[in-house]
C-alpha cells in the first residue's frame, strides 16, 4: 500500500504579460489575422482623424452661435441647441410642454417604484396594472380633453413621437403576438389557418408597404366625411407588422417547451387556459426574451419610416429644422445627433435584456 501526501495548491504559471497574450490570441494569431489587423489599423488611420476633427477639434461649441458665425470646417453644435425643443417635442405648443414632460416623468417614476418593490408579492399586479392604466394617462396628457386643451396629433413630433410610436407598437403587439403564436399552434384548423396566413403574409411584406397601405387603403373602408387620424393609421400599421414578428419569436419559445410539461399540466387537471397561462407561457416567454428584445430594437429603428407617410419623427425633424432659412446646410449635425440619441436608447435596451437574461438563468433554468 502506498500513501500519498496532500499536494499544495499553486497558482497557474504566469510566464507572459496579460496584454501581450491577449494581442497574440486576438489580433496576431494567424497570417490572415495579421493582415486583417493591419487593414483595420489603416482604415482607422484614414477615418478617425477627419471624424474627430469634424465633431470635436474643428467644431464650434459656442451654443449661442448662428449659422454664419459657426463656420463650415467643423460641426456647429449650436444648431442642435437652438432646435433642441423641436428634436424632443416636435411642434407641440410651447405652453403645453409640461404635459409631455409629465408623461415621461410618470414612466420614470413607475419604473423606479417598480424596482423598489422587487420582493413584494404584489409586483405582478403592479406591473400589469401599470401596463393597463399608464397608456390611458399618457394619451390623456398628450392628446388632452376633459379640461386639458386638445393638441392634435399632427403637432406631435420628434423624440416624443418616436417613443410614442415605438411604445404603442411594442405594447400592443405583445399580447396580439402571443395570441397569434398560440393560434398557430392550435389544434383548431380554422384558427391555425388564419394565424399562419396572417403571419406569413405580413412577414413577406416590407414595413413601408404596410405603412402605405395603412395610410392609403385603411381610409377607404371609412366613409369619406370621417377624418381618420394619420398617426392612428401609422400605429395600426406598425402594430400589425410587429405582431407577426413577435408571434414568430414566441412560437419559437413555445416549441422549446418539452412535451412533458404539457402532459404534467394536463394530468393535474388544469384547463387549457390555466395550462397556457400558468405553465406554458411563462416558460416560453422566458426563453424568448432575447429575441423579443431584438425584435423591439428592430421596430424602434423602423419607426423612422413613419416620416414617409408625413409624420415628423426625430429623423424628419432634421429636415424640418434645416429647411428653416437660418440653419440651411446643417443636416450632418442633425443626423449625427439623431443617430447618437437612437443609439443610446437601443444600447440601453439591449443591455437591459442581457441583464434580464442573466437574472433568469441564475435564478432558475
Amino acid at each position: 500500500m502506498a500513501i500519498y501526501p496532500l499536494k499544495e495548491t499553486k497558482s497557474p504559471p504566469q510566464s507572459q504579460i496579460k496584454a501581450v497574450v491577449w494581442l497574440k490570441e486576438n489580433l496576431f494569431s494567424s497570417a490572415l489575422n495579421i493582415a486583417l489587423t493591419f487593414v483595420a489599423l489603416y482604415l482607422i488611420y484614414l477615418l478617425l482623424p477627419p471624424i474627430l476633427n469634424w465633431t470635436i477639434f474643428n467644431a464650434n461649441f459656442d451654443l449661442a452661435a448662428d449659422n454664419q458665425s459657426c463656420g463650415r470646417e467643423g460641426a456647429c453644435w449650436a444648431f442642435i441647441n437652438s432646435n433642441l425643443k423641436m428634436f424632443i417635442y416636435g411642434f407641440y405648443p410651447q405652453e403645453e410642454l409640461w404635459r409631455v414632460n409629465t408623461m415621461f416623468g410618470i414612466i420614470v417614476a413607475l419604473v423606479v417604484f417598480g424596482s423598489l418593490i422587487k420582493e413584494s408579492q404584489y409586483r405582478a399586479h403592479y406591473i400589469i396594472g401599470s401596463f393597463l392604466i399608464y397608456p390611458v394617462i399618457a394619451f390623456f396628457l398628450l392628446h388632452g380633453g376633459l379640461g386639458l386643451e386638445v393638441v392634435e396629433t399632427d403637432k406631435w413630433g420628434g423624440l416624443t413621437l418616436t417613443v410614442v410610436v415605438a411604445a404603442v407598437g411594442i405594447v400592443a403587439s405583445f399580447p396580439l403576438g402571443i395570441l397569434f403564436a398560440l393560434g398557430r399552434q392550435s389544434e383548431m384548423r380554422i384558427v391555425k389557418f388564419i394565424s399562419v396566413i396572417y403571419i406569413e403574409f405580413v412577414r413577406g411584406v416590407p414595413l413601408i408597404t404596410i405603412l402605405f397601405m395603412a395610410s392609403v387603403v385603411l381610409p377607404l373602408f371609412f366613409s369619406a366625411g370621417m377624418d381618420f387620424d394619420k398617426l392612428l393609421r401609422a400605429l395600426i400599421g406598425i402594430t400589425l407588422f410587429q405582431t407577426a414578428y413577435i408571434a414568430e419569436v414566441i412560437r419559437g419559445g413555445l416549441q422549446a417547451i418539452p412535451k412533458g410539461q404539457y402532459e404534467a399540466a394536463d394530468a393535474s387537471g388544469l384547463s387549457f387556459m390555466q395550462k397556457t397561462v400558468l405553465i406554458i407561457l411563462p416558460q416560453a416567454l422566458k426563453i424568448s426574451i432575447p429575441n423579443i428584445v431584438g425584435s423591439f430594437i428592430a421596430l424602434f429603428k423602423d419607426t423612422t419610416l413613419v416620416l414617409i407617410i408625413g409624420l415628423f419623427d426625430m429623423l424628419a425633424i432634421v429636415g424640418a429644422a434645416t429647411s428653416n432659412s437660418s440653419w440651411l446646410g446643417r443636416e450632418a449635425e442633425g443626423y449625427v445627433f439623431v443617430a447618437m440619441v437612437i443609439w443610446v436608447i437601443l444600447y440601453s435596451m439591449s443591455r437591459y435584456s442581457k441583464k434580464l437574461e442573466t437574472r433568469f438563468s441564475t435564478e432558475h433554468k
Partner: protein, 258 residues
C-alpha cells in the same frame, strides 16, 4: 365503502375503481393496445411490466386520457371517459400521475409546484394548500427544500417532489410510469421507499416498473404485457414462482439475471 375499517377486506372485497373493457388503440396503422380488459379494485396495487414497446405507458396514459383511444371503454370511479372535456378534467382531478422524467415545472419553486393544482383545480385556499404541501414534503423527506427550484435538486429528490405533487390533490388513484428508471442506482431506493409507504395506506396504485423487488413486496397483482396485449396476470407470488407463458418466463429470466 369508506366504513370498511379493515384494509384487507377493502382490497379483496369491494368495487372496481378502474374498469377497462375491450380497449383498442392505434397510432396511425400501428396497433398499440389490443383488446385490453382490466379491472382494478379500490385500494389495489397493480404492477405492470413487460418488454420495451409493449404498450405499458400507452395503457396507463389512456386511464387519464393523456392518450386517446379508438375502441372500448374506460370507467374510472363510475365516470366513463369520453371526449367531454368536463368529464376528463373531473377524472384527472381524482387521478394523479408520476412520470419517468418527473416533469416538474421548472419555473416554479417546489412549494408552488405542489400547490398549483390544489389552488387552481381544487379551489383550495393558498394557506390550506401550503400546509398540506409542507406536510407531504415532510413525509417524502425534503421539507427543507421547499423554496428551491426543481433543477437545484437531485433526481431522486425531484421524483420525491413529483410524488408529493401527485399526492397534494388527495387522489383516489395514482399512476406511475417507470418512476425510477431515469434515476441513478443510489437514488432508486429512496423513491421506492416512499412508494412502499404509500402502498401501505390503501391508495389505489397502478405502477409500470421493472423493479421486481418492489413488485414482490407490495403488488396485489402483477400484469405482464407484450406486443400490446396482456399476456399473463397473477398475484405476485404465483407470478414469479409459476410463470405460465414462455414469454413471461423469458422476460423474468432476462430481468432477474441482471
Amino acid at each position: 365503502m369508506s366504513e370498511l375499517t379493515n384494509k384487507e377486506i377493502d382490497k379483496k372485497g369491494c368495487c372496481d375503481i378502474i374498469e377497462i373493457n375491450g380497449l383498442n388503440k392505434w397510432y396511425g396503422d400501428f396497433h398499440a393496445l389490443k383488446s385490453i380488459d382490466l379491472k382494478v379494485k379500490e385500494g389495489e396495487i397493480i404492477v405492470v411490466c413487460g418488454p420495451s414497446g409493449s404498450g405499458k405507458s400507452t395503457l396507463i396514459r389512456c386511464v387519464n386520457f393523456l392518450e386517446k383511444f379508438q375502441e372500448g371503454s374506460i370507467i374510472v370511479d363510475g365516470t366513463e371517459l369520453t371526449d367531454d372535456v368536463k368529464k376528463i378534467r373531473q377524472i384527472r382531478s381524482e387521478v394523479s400521475m408520476v412520470f419517468q422524467h418527473f416533469n416538474l415545472f421548472p419555473h416554479l419553486n417546489i412549494i408552488d409546484n405542489l400547490t398549483l393544482a390544489p389552488i387552481w383545480v381544487h379551489n383550495k385556499t393558498k394557506q390550506k394548500a401550503r400546509e398540506k404541501a409542507l406536510q407531504l414534503l415532510d413525509r417524502v423527506g425534503i421539507k427543507d427544500q421547499a423554496n428551491k427550484y426543481p433543477n437545484q435538486l437531485s433526481g431522486g429528490q425531484q421524483q420525491r417532489v413529483a410524488i408529493a405533487r401527485a399526492l397534494c390533490t388527495s387522489p383516489k388513484i395514482m399512476l406511475f410510469d417507470e418512476p425510477t428508471s431515469a434515476l441513478d442506482p443510489e437514488m432508486i431506493s429512496e423513491v421506492l421507499d416512499v412508494m412502499v409507504d404509500l402502498a401501505k395506506e390503501g391508495i389505489t396504485m397502478v405502477c409500470v416498473t421493472h423493479e421486481m423487488g418492489f413488485a414482490k413486496k407490495v403488488a396485489d397483482r402483477i400484469i405482464f404485457m407484450d406486443e400490446g396485449q396482456i399476456v399473463e396476470e397473477n398475484d405476485s407470488d404465483a407470478f414469479f414462482d409459476n410463470p405460465e407463458s414462455d414469454r413471461l418466463r423469458l422476460f423474468l429470466d432476462q430481468i432477474l439475471s441482471q
